[in-house]
């Protein structure tokens, strides 16, 4: 798994590539926490490079969503591959997270208040 973050216009984008499962979940959580602790409260998770997400990976996103909601922040997912989208659908997580096609569309969701 590879995680890279960059700062955008009013949001921070985190790109997760590879597999987000029980093995990589703690590393992903630590990386996301570092970004939040540095002051980011609006996150875009770019999952276009994510090949697989397990229940453990979904729980990392759940923890993040709760953490950001306490800070009046927001998390938007983008670039979901079909297999990953299916896991989100089965687990009902699409009802929790706003999903955008790509980063540009995700950015718009932060501008609309």
């Amino acid at each position: 798994m590879d995680i890279q973050s960059k700062t955008g216009n009013g949001f921070t984008s985190i790109a997760i590539k590879g597999r987000l499962d029980a093995v990589t979940a703690s590393a992903a959580e630590a990386a996301i926490n570092r970004t939040i602790d540095s002051g980011a409260s609006n996150l875009v998770l770019d999952l276009s490079g994510l090949d697989y997400v397990s229940s453990a990976g979904l729980r990392v996103l759940l923890v993040t969503a709760k953490k950001l909601s306490r800070q009046n922040g927001k998390i938007v997912l983008c670039g979901l591959q079909n297999t990953v989208r299916e896991v989100f659908t089965i687990s009902g997580f699409l009802s929790i997270f706003p999903v955008a096609a790509d980063e540009a569309e995700a950015e718009k969701s932060f501008q609309i208040k």
Binding site: D37, S54, K66, R70, G92, S95
Partner: protein
């Protein structure tokens, strides 16, 4: 239900034992590989049946008192042992069958016909036991009865395979290749039998290793967390494992302290109900953790510190207590605070009120007292409990109230826990101004163990307590350093 399962297993064992001798005689006289392998199967079936019978008997008689968490592991162990014995028996039979394919022999026709008859009777008995055990397993599934119905299914198919093999061998005995029918049928049956036991062995091993649930079930848990997403404030993890036929799931959540207990319970019940519906035989335990303070405190929050009460902060702390509580004539917060600063000042007067060794701390920001709290010992219950003193918070400091309350409460728990006593006790009331504090106490696990009417009968005094071991977990004391308090 256990008695019915025990009866079913015992009947299977007795029928197997009764069939063993006739099959042995016919196998020796006919020379059939299928009948020989059937003998191994009988031996396996009797052994596994006796183990299962013994375990069920112990469970039913209650001879398992030493197992705090029930007999699930014992059932798994029995199911696993029986299944492994069966698989080893099948592997041995497969070896014999292969050997017979390479070194075929012609069977004795007369005794083979007798074997056909015995197999037909065996087939009927096994099919009946298969149906009976399957019905019991559907009513109350346990690894043992699951193993038993699978064993009887395999026995039925075994009898059928042996029967077909023997009939074909007899019918086609004029053909030179008919000598292969007997061992080939035996081999097919053994491979199928081994395959049918793999799930039982796998589940038994995962259970004994306390392996977490499979991904399909984990996603079902996640779905219920998503459905109830708005009902809880923080998610702190899921732990799950199988224990026999039961599925144990622990979910750690935190709730907004301002939330009503009834709303919180609604979410907890909805979550439990949803998971129980999606995962049969599941037992869901919701662990309520203390709400986490904001992840990124602002500069002002960073400046706030909890420090011991001092002569400088005493007037403000006392003022805060007096402005927060309705102080009765026999309440002496000033004595407690003065005793804290100078031990011995009011030691006898306080002892008469049931108070000794009071310790106070204040939450300060830029020299301003935002909160006060502390602990004391009641000499009457000196060895078992620590008591919380007057705890007050500056409610005019909007926005950070929850965090300040949390920090002060955590400080009290930390100091009380360090004394090594079992309980932290508090004395509060049903005044409206104490409603929010009572919510927080109930939220972190305090229970009201005694209620008294005030002297004027206008309000109730609530005595609450919680085990410090529990509070230490709720406030995650093992993860924080003293300087972070």
């Amino acid at each position: 239900m256990l008695k019915a399962q025990e009866r079913a297993v015992r009947l299977g064992v007795l029928l197997d034992m009764g069939s063993l001798l006739p099959v042995l005689v016919i196998a020796v006289l006919s020379g059939s590989m299928l009948l020989y392998s059937d003998l191994l199967d009988y031996a396996r079936s009797i052994t596994a049946g006796i183990i299962a019978w013994g375990i069920l008997r112990r469970i039913r008689k209650g001879d398992v008192q030493e197992y705090d968490y029930g007999t699930g592991k014992m059932e798994s162990l029995g199911g696993l042992a029986g299944s492994l014995i069966f698989m080893v028996g099948l592997l041995i039979m497969a070896g014999f069958a292969l050997h017979r394919i390479f070194y075929p022999i012609e069977l004795n026709a007369g005794f083979t016909a007798l074997g056909v008859l015995s197999q037909f009777i065996g087939l009927l008995i096994c099919a009946w036991l298969w149906w009976r055990n399957l019905k019991l397993a559907r009513q109350a599934s346990t690894p043992l009865i699951e193993m038993e119905w699978r064993a009887k299914r395999a026995d039925t198919l075994n009898n059928l395979a042996v029967l077909v093999g023997l009939v074909l061998t007899l019918a086609l005995r004029s053909m030179p290749w008919s000598v292969y029918i007997d061992p080939v049928c035996a081999l097919i049956f053994t491979v199928y039998g081994i395959g049918s036991f793999i799930p039982t062995v796998r589940d038994g091993i995962l259970d004994l290793l306390d392996k977490t649930l499979v991904e399909e079930l984990q996603l079902k848990i996640n779905r219920n967390l998503a459905v109830n997403f708005d009902g809880y404030e923080g998610f702190h993890g899921v732990r799950s494992r199988r224990m026999g036929n039961r599925v144990l799931i622990d979910i750690a959540l935190s709730f907004d302290p301002k939330k009503r207990i009834s709303d919180m319970m609604k979410t907890v019940e909805s979550l439990k109900e949803g998971i129980r519906h999606d995962i049969p035989n599941s037992e869901v335990n919701i662990i309520i953790e203390a709400p986490e303070p904001s992840a990124s405190p602002d500069d002002e929050e960073k400046k706030t510190q909890i420090v011991p009460l001092s002569k400088e902060t005493l007037p403000s702390a006392l003022k805060l207590v007096r402005s927060t509580f309705r102080i009765e004539s026999d309440d002496k917060p000033e004595w407690e605070m003065e005793e804290c600063l100078e031990p011995g000042t009011h030691v006898e007067e306080l002892r008469a009120l049931g108070i000794s060794n009071p310790c106070y701390w204040v939450l300060c920001s830029d020299g301003r007292v935002l909160g006060v709290t502390g602990i004391y010992i009641n000499p009457k219950y000196e060895s078992e409990a620590v008591w919380g003193t007057w705890s007050a918070y500056d409610t005019t400091k909007k926005g950070k109230l929850s965090r300040n309350r949390y920090r002060l409460m955590r400080k009290v728990v930390y100091e009380a826990h360090a004394t090594g006593r079992k309980y932290l006790r508090l004395c509060t009331s049903d005044f409206p101004e104490e409603k929010e504090a009572n919510h927080l106490y109930d939220h972190v696990g305090f229970t009201t163990y005694m209620t008294k009417k005030s002297q004027d009968g206008k309000y109730s005094i609530l005595y609450k307590q919680a085990e410090l071991q529990h509070l230490a977990k709720v406030f995650k004391l093992d993860r924080i350093k003293p300087e972070e308090l």
